[in-house]
């Protein structure tokens, strides 16, 4: 990517995101991508005056991650989507659709983590 990418850790992401907000960055969105069978990349895209900047949070998919919905409330949609598609779990996500944003009970596998049954799906 041609824009700057800042690596963040799950522990630090909340603070870092808040700093971005305080510095006047707009949250454009979140992207998720599997790195391998275990690890997930979550990219936070920020914009300020047409320039982009990204955070990259790399973490095991199964471990709970902190939600940034308390900082940028609009992030709830993106985080819920990531929960649906990757079965990651965000803590303190408001509102938490618990993997029902898109998916019905008929979908028994995790879409982007192929070959993994969605055993941990809550109802």
């Amino acid at each position: 990517m041609k824009e700057p990418v800042i690596d963040v850790t799950p522990a630090a992401v909340g603070n870092e995101v808040r700093q971005m907000k305080d510095a006047g960055w707009r949250l454009v969105g979140l992207s998720g991508a599997m790195v391998d069978d275990e690890q997930i990349d979550i990219l936070y895209h920020f914009d300020k005056d047409l320039t982009l900047s990204h955070f990259r949070l790399r973490a095991p998919r199964t471990a709970p991650l902190p939600s940034i919905s308390a900082v940028y409330s609009a992030a709830f949609l993106g985080e819920n989507e990531l929960q649906d598609l990757f079965a990651v779990r965000f803590e303190n996500l408001v509102p938490d659709f618990k993997r029902t944003l898109y998916l019905e009970e008929e979908i028994t596998t995790i879409p982007f983590a192929t070959n993994v049954k969605a055993a941990e799906k809550k109802t």
């Binding site: 599997m34 790195v35 391998d36 192929t114 070959n115």
Partner: protein
């Protein structure tokens, strides 16, 4: 409100905009991708169309000389016709008529004799090959 009154009154006293389809059919624009058709006699069963089709709706079997397309899945993008080396595939400028039942477009032609093996192999294996997924790192 006043301007809108002028508008609607103008509408009242000018010819109606309605195109009286199906009583009167408007001349289609040249290049309109109405429906996919094939001159099966020109087809060399190379299978390029099947491989390029984003909807995966074309099946070509070089062994039997069979070209099949599911018109219900075709998205009328024209990629197949673009890639057709012999221009056997083309788009007619009338839209495809509604149907009451599902049927395949199925044509049988003469597959070319030479190079038959390699092409057939590609055509036969490509579609399922696309289905394997799982991203690598």
């Amino acid at each position: 409100m006043f301007r809108m009154t002028l508008n609607v009154l103008r509408n009242l006293f000018t010819p109606k905009a309605t195109r009286l389809y199906p009583a009167r059919v408007r001349e289609p624009f040249a290049g309109y991708r109405g429906q996919l058709e094939i001159h099966i006699e020109d087809c060399i069963f190379c299978g390029l169309c099947a491989r390029k089709c984003p909807a995966l709706c074309i099946a070509v079997d070089i062994k039997t000389g069979k070209w099949e397309c599911d018109p219900f899945a075709c998205v009328y993008c024209g990629i197949c016709a673009d890639h057709c080396p012999t221009d056997a595939l083309f788009f007619a400028d009338r839209h495809r008529a509604p149907a009451e039942k599902h049927s395949l477009m199925s044509y049988t032609g003469q597959p070319p004799k030479k190079k038959e093996k390699s092409v057939a192999a590609t055509a036969g294996s490509e579609a399922p090959a696309n289905r394997k997924s799982a991203p690598a790192d």
